[in-house]
C-alpha cells in the first residue's frame, strides 16, 4: 500500500472506531432488541396491526405533513419578500426570523405555552377583551404551532438561498409578455424554487416526525409516535415494542430524506 493511502486510512480511523462503537453496534443492538420480545419478529406484524400505534403513526404523519405545507407557504412568501426588497432593518429582521434555529424542542414547547397556555397571552387577551377562554397549547393545535415554530426558520434559510440565485430577468420577461403576478409566481418563480421547496419541505417533515421535546413539554395526551415510543420504554418498560417502533420511525424518516435528496438532486446541495 502507498504511504498516501495508508495516511488516508489513518485519518479515517478515529471515525471508524467511534461510528463502529456508538452507531453501528448500538443500531444493530436496537434491531436485535426489537425481535427479542415474547412474540419475536412477529412483533412487527403486531405493531402494524395495532390500531393505537397506527393511529399514532397516522396523526404523526398528518401533523408533520400539515406543518411542512404551512411552513413552506409562510417561509416562501417571507423569503421572496426579504430577498427582493431592500429596506432599513432587513438584516435584523432576517436574524430575528432565524433566531429559533438554536432552540431545543422543550423551549419551543414553552413558547407555545406562553402564547396559548392557561396563563398564556391569548387567554389573557380573550379574557380581557371578550370575557372568553382561549387555551390551545395542550391540544393538536398547540403541537401544530410548536412544530411550525421550529420549521419556519429552517425552511426560510433554504428558500432564501435558492431565491437569491433565481434570475430576475426571467420574471421580467414573463411580465413583459403579459403574464399577471399569479401566473409569474405559478409558472416562473415556484418552478425555479422547486428543488429547494422539496428539500426543505422534506427536512421539515422529517424533523417534525421525530420531534419529541415539544410534545413532551406540552404534556398532552396526543399520541404522536415519539411520545408513544417514550411511554412504551419508560412507563410500560415494553422494550421490544419501543425498539420496533423506533426502527420503523427511523427507517421512514431516513428513507424520506434520501428520496427527497435523490429527487431534488444536486440542486439540494447548492441550495443548502
Amino acid at each position: 500500500m502507498r504511504a498516501d493511502d495508508r495516511f488516508t486510512l489513518l485519518a479515517a480511523l478515529p471515525l471508524a472506531i467511534f461510528a463502529g462503537a456508538f452507531l453501528l453496534l448500538p443500531l444493530a443492538r436496537l434491531i436485535m432488541a426489537s425481535g427479542e420480545g415474547p412474540s419475536g419478529w412477529a412483533l412487527y406484524g403486531q405493531v402494524l396491526a395495532n390500531p393505537r400505534y397506527m393511529r399514532a403513526l397516522g396523526q404523526t404523519v398528518a401533523v408533520s405533513g400539515l406543518v411542512s405545507l404551512a411552513a413552506l407557504a409562510v417561509a416562501t412568501t417571507a423569503a421572496l419578500f426579504l430577498v427582493r426588497r431592500r429596506f432599513f432593518g432587513r438584516s435584523v429582521l432576517i436574524g430575528l426570523l432565524t433566531f429559533p434555529l438554536a432552540f431545543p424542542g422543550v423551549v419551543v414547547g414553552f413558547m407555545i405555552i406562553l402564547l396559548g397556555g392557561r396563563q398564556g397571552l391569548m387567554n389573557a387577551l380573550a379574557r380581557d377583551l371578550f370575557d372568553a377562554r382561549l387555551v390551545f397549547a395542550y391540544s393538536m393545535t398547540g403541537l401544530f404551532l410548536g412544530y411550525l415554530y421550529f420549521s419556519i426558520p429552517r425552511v426560510l434559510l433554504t428558500v432564501m438561498a435558492a431565491a437569491e440565485k433565481l434570475d430576475p430577468a426571467l420574471e421580467e420577461a414573463a411580465r413583459s409578455l403579459g403574464a399577471g403576478p399569479v401566473a409569474v409566481l405559478r409558472d416562473v418563480t415556484l418552478p425555479g424554487l422547486a428543488p429547494a421547496l422539496v428539500a426543505s419541505g422534506a427536512v421539515a417533515f422529517a424533523t417534525a416526525m421525530g420531534a419529541f421535546g415539544t410534545a413532551f413539554t406540552l404534556a398532552t395526551n396526543i399520541d404522536v409516535l415519539p411520545m408513544v415510543i417514550y411511554t412504551e420504554f419508560t412507563l410500560a418498560a415494553n422494550i421490544a415494542t419501543a425498539a420496533a417502533l423506533s426502527v420503523v420511525l427511523g427507517l421512514v424518516t431516513w428513507a424520506l430524506l434520501f428520496l427527497a435528496r435523490s429527487f431534488a438532486g444536486a440542486a439540494v446541495a447548492a441550495g443548502g
Partner: protein, 262 residues
C-alpha cells in the same frame, strides 16, 4: 394587483416575525418581572435569575463542558475524517458519509434507545457525563464533517496536494500544512454549529441523563414541569443569553465559509 401582492407578503412576514418573537420576548420579560400575574407594574427584579442560578448553575456548567467535549471530538474525529472522505472519492466513501450522517435523519429518541440497549448495563459509563457526551458527538459530528467536506470539495485539494508532494512533503505534513489551513473557514463554521447544537440538544439527552447528569435543556424541561412561570422564564432567559451570540457567530461563519466555497 402588485400592490396587493406586496401587502400580502408584508403581512405574512410580519405575522411570522410576531409569532416567533412575541413568546420569546414574553419569556425574557417574565424572567425579570417580580410577579407575572400583576405584570410589569409589579416591578423588575433579578431575583428569579438568582434563584435559577442557585438551583440550576450545575446544568449550565455541565452543558458548557459537554459542548467543549463535543467540539474536541468533532475536531479530532471529524476533520481528519472529512480529509479522508475527500481524498477517497468513490462508492465506499459516499456510503460511509451517508452512514455517519444517519443521526441527522434518525430521530434522537431512537439513537438514545440504541445506546441504552447496548451500554445501559455498563453502570460506570451509563451514569457518567461521558455517556451524554457520546450522544452529543454522535449527533454533532456529521455537521463538522459536512462543513469541512464542502470546503475540500471546492478548493481543488488534489492539485494543492500534488504540488506539495512534488516538493517532497509527506502525507501528514500535507494534511497539517495544506489541508487544515485551507479548510479553516469550514472548520470554524462546523465548530460553532457543533457547540450551538450541543448546548441545545434535548431529544437524546433526556433519555441518556441521570439525576446527577442534567444538562441545561434537561433542567429547562424540569423547570417547565415543576417551577413557577417566572423561574422557568428566567431560566429560558439564561439559555437565550448563552445561545444567541453563538447563533449569530454560527451564521456569520457559515456565510463566510460559503463565500470561500464559491
Amino acid at each position: 394587483m402588485r400592490a396587493a401582492a406586496l401587502g400580502f407578503q408584508i403581512a405574512v412576514t410580519g405575522l411570522a416575525v410576531a409569532f416567533l418573537l412575541i413568546p420569546a420576548l414574553m419569556s425574557a420579560v417574565t424572567g425579570v418581572t417580580a410577579n407575572y400575574f400583576r405584570g410589569l407594574s409589579s416591578g423588575l427584579t433579578l431575583d428569579w435569575v438568582a434563584r435559577v442560578w442557585e438551583l440550576y448553575a450545575s446544568t449550565v456548567w455541565r452543558s458548557m463542558r459537554i459542548a467543549l467535549g463535543a467540539l474536541a471530538a468533532a475536531l479530532l474525529i471529524g476533520v481528519p475524517a472529512a480529509y479522508a472522505l475527500a481524498r477517497a472519492p468513490g462508492r465506499l466513501a459516499r456510503a460511509i458519509e451517508e452512514f455517519v450522517s444517519l443521526p441527522l435523519a434518525v430521530p434522537g429518541l431512537a439513537l438514545a434507545l440504541a445506546l441504552l440497549q447496548l451500554y445501559g448495563t455498563w453502570r460506570g459509563f451509563r451514569i457518567s457525563e461521558w455517556f451524554i457526551l457520546v450522544g452529543h458527538v454522535l449527533y454533532t459530528l456529521p455537521f463538522m464533517i459536512r462543513a469541512v467536506l464542502a470546503v475540500f470539495a471546492a478548493i481543488d485539494l488534489p492539485k494543492l496536494e500534488e504540488a506539495a508532494a512534488a516538493l517532497g512533503a509527506p502525507p501528514w505534513r500535507r494534511f497539517i500544512d495544506i489541508a487544515v489551513p485551507n479548510a479553516a473557514p469550514g472548520v470554524l463554521a462546523g465548530a460553532l454549529t457543533v457547540v450551538t447544537l450541543s448546548i441545545g440538544e434535548f431529544n437524546l439527552t433526556w433519555m441518556l441523563h441521570t439525576p446527577l447528569t442534567k444538562t441545561l435543556p434537561v433542567g429547562l424541561a424540569d423547570s417547565y414541569a415543576s417551577m413557577r412561570l417566572e423561574v422557568a422564564s428566567a431560566y429560558t432567559l439564561v439559555f437565550f443569553v448563552m445561545v444567541l451570540p453563538l447563533l449569530v457567530a454560527m451564521q456569520w461563519a457559515a456565510a463566510r465559509a460559503q463565500g470561500f466555497v464559491r
